[in-house]
């Protein structure tokens, strides 16, 4: 009967742990949101920060974060999916493959600051670009690539073998089988993974300190040429993202409302990440349903 007592006790302890964790999370989210809640208005979200006075916003930072995300994904997704396809479908079982696999593992466990320093050396100094959005995007690509490769590989491997056999047995070439049968079936998984990776891009700061920089030029939202310094779309300009902004405001903020701005920015960041997470789930399911319910 000691056994039954132990059973009870363990159940209680584990339940308490679960409650503790949920409590912490809810507390954490609640705290951040409640602190920043009053800042969540259109003006704060769209106006530029003010260096001297109170009342600045986070418009350019928000834009930078989104733009950086798009740039990163444009570079990282094709590479990640390509490499994922190689790992899942082509990689022979040999030393080279093992080496690639180890490279992926190493990349995924690299501290983001090391990636940032590498970016500083290569994308900032060696290329002579200085701190640029593009350099930041490349650093974040390095950072997200392993995740995307793994997600793609897993998603491809999770497609039932029978799908592949069905296609090959119809005399379809391997590449076409991959592209037309396996990849579509793996899409929900890949999309979910990509959106989760987006959340990481959005929240990353350490790697960006050294690559995209801690400042943002005065963006002119009427100028969309790719090479003007004040054009929002110019990828070769420094760009402070939301996460970096929180870091900077916290450490160097001179304005009287620095704390307020940090609170607001943190809330915006959390909400963005929440949105990414939820949409990842929802979108993945939606694509899956859409695909399996025909009509394509």
């Amino acid at each position: 009967m000691k056994a039954r007592l132990m059973d009870r006790a363990a159940t209680v302890v584990l339940t308490l742990i679960a409650i503790l964790i949920i409590g912490t999370l809810v507390g954490l989210l609640g705290f951040i949101l409640s602190q920043g809640w009053h800042k969540l208005n259109l003006d704060f979200l769209t106006s530029p920060p003010d260096i001297v006075n109170a009342g600045g916003g986070i418009g350019p930072q928000l834009f930078n974060s989104l733009y950086l995300l798009v740039l990163t994904m444009l570079i990282a997704l094709p590479l990640g999916i390509g490499a994922g396809i190689y790992m899942a479908e082509y990689a022979p079982d040999n030393k080279i493959t093992q080496f690639i696999r180890m490279s992926i593992e190493v990349l995924s466990s690299l501290p983001s600051i090391v990636v940032g320093l590498f970016g500083l050396l290569v994308f900032v100094n060696m290329t002579g670009w200085g701190y640029t959005l593009f350099g930041g995007a490349l650093a974040l690509t390095v950072f997200n690539l392993p995740l995307l490769v793994r997600v793609t590989e897993d998603a491809l491997r999770n497609v039932p073998r029978s799908q592949k056999e069905a296609s090959l047995a119809l005399g379809i070439t391997k590449w076409r089988t991959i592209v037309s049968v396996i990849l579509p079936a793996a899409l929900p998984g890949i999309i979910t993974g990509a959106i989760l990776a987006s959340g990481r891009v959005f929240g990353e700061a350490a790697a960006l300190l050294f690559t995209a920089g801690m400042s943002s030029p005065n963006l002119d939202f009427t100028d969309f040429s790719l090479n003007s310094t004040t054009s929002p779309l110019n990828p070769f300009r420094p760009a402070e993202t939301l996460a970096v902004h929180i870091w900077k405001v916290n450490s160097e903020g001179l304005t009287p409302d620095a704390r307020d701005v940090a609170d607001g920015a943190a809330a915006v960041l959390i909400i963005a990440v929440l949105l990414f997470n939820l949409s990842a789930r929802w979108f993945g399911n939606w694509v899956y349903k859409k695909m399996t319910s025909g009509s394509n």
Binding site: P92, D93, P160, S162, Q163, K164, E165, A166, S167, L168, A169, L170, G171, I172, T173, R176, S180, V181, P184, A185, M291, T292, S293, G294, S295, N296
Partner: protein, 257 residues
């Protein structure tokens, strides 16, 4: 059987051995398969039926550890020779698997996928082909109003017939069926059996089955395998009434397996 091949033999295997790494799964099999007839492979689980069947359209190429020795001649050509284009071979030798595996696409797309890939792009032609294939697979009446629905919305038996239609749409000469009805309910099983009986006039069919009664009902010849060896191959009637080998008899009468 005379020397090695008979008049109407379309597939001829000569001393075929298949290995998975160290494992010798199919041992020294020589057999001829007649054109436009149904041949059944029977035997206990793991005896190598599927392995041999998959060698006939080189699906075993997918298994890295798998090695096939000996020659397999289809229509006079050794399919393992380097001149043979594997994609075209598989168009000629179609295959249907134990578990229905429709693509995660619409019913229409499931059937049109391969022909389109092989160069049929005209919409009208495709429509016709889809219809005729579904008709041959005795599925047309059940699905004609919902060709755009997902293939996964079909029942298990319908899915399996869809897979047969999909194979037929490539206009193969030979159809390999690996236990096509083993996962199905009795009624769907019956439909598949009827379908096989109908198709045998146009196609050469090789079917693997666990169900002895099924083999007896639909095949003209039956081959019995045991632990990788072909124990006996003969007219189905003969195998089930007076087999020559006592192991065959033991299996048929249910003493093991």
């Amino acid at each position: 059987m005379s020397v090695l091949t008979m008049q109407d033999t379309i597939i001829q295997t000569n001393n075929v051995n298949v290995y998975y790494g160290e494992k010798h799964a199919v041992k020294n099999i020589s057999m001829g398969i007649e054109k436009n007839s149904v041949t059944a492979f029977i035997g206990p689980s793991g005896c190598g039926k599927s392995t041999l069947l998959r060698s006939l359209n080189r699906m075993n190429d997918l298994v890295p550890s798998c090695r096939v020795e000996g020659s397999i001649i289809v229509d006079g050509i050794d399919i393992n020779s380097s001149q043979v284009n594997i994609e075209s071979l598989r168009q000629v030798v179609g295959m249907v698997f134990q578990r229905a595996n429709p693509f995660f696409k619409s019913i229409y797309e499931n059937i049109a996928f391969a022909p389109r890939f092989h160069g049929m792009t005209n919409k009208r032609d495709l429509d016709e082909l889809v219809e005729s294939s579904l008709r041959k697979a005795a599925l047309w009446d059940e699905v004609k109003d919902r060709l755009r629905d997902s293939a996964l919305s079909l029942s298990g038996g319908q899915q399996q017939r869809l897979c047969i239609a999909r194979a037929i749409a490539m206009q193969p000469t030979i159809l390999l069926l690996d236990e096509p009805a083993s996962a199905l309910d009795p009624i769907s099983t019956m439909k598949i059996e009827e379908l096989v009986m109908q198709l045998k006039d146009e196609y050469t069919i090789v079917i693997v089955t666990h169900n002895l009664h099924q083999a007896a009902r639909i095949s003209a010849k039956t081959a019995f395998f045991l632990m990788g060896e072909m124990i006996e191959m003969d007219e189905t009637g003969k195998i089930f009434t007076s087999p020559e080998n006592e192991k065959t008899e033991a299996y048929i009468s249910g003493r093991f397996g």
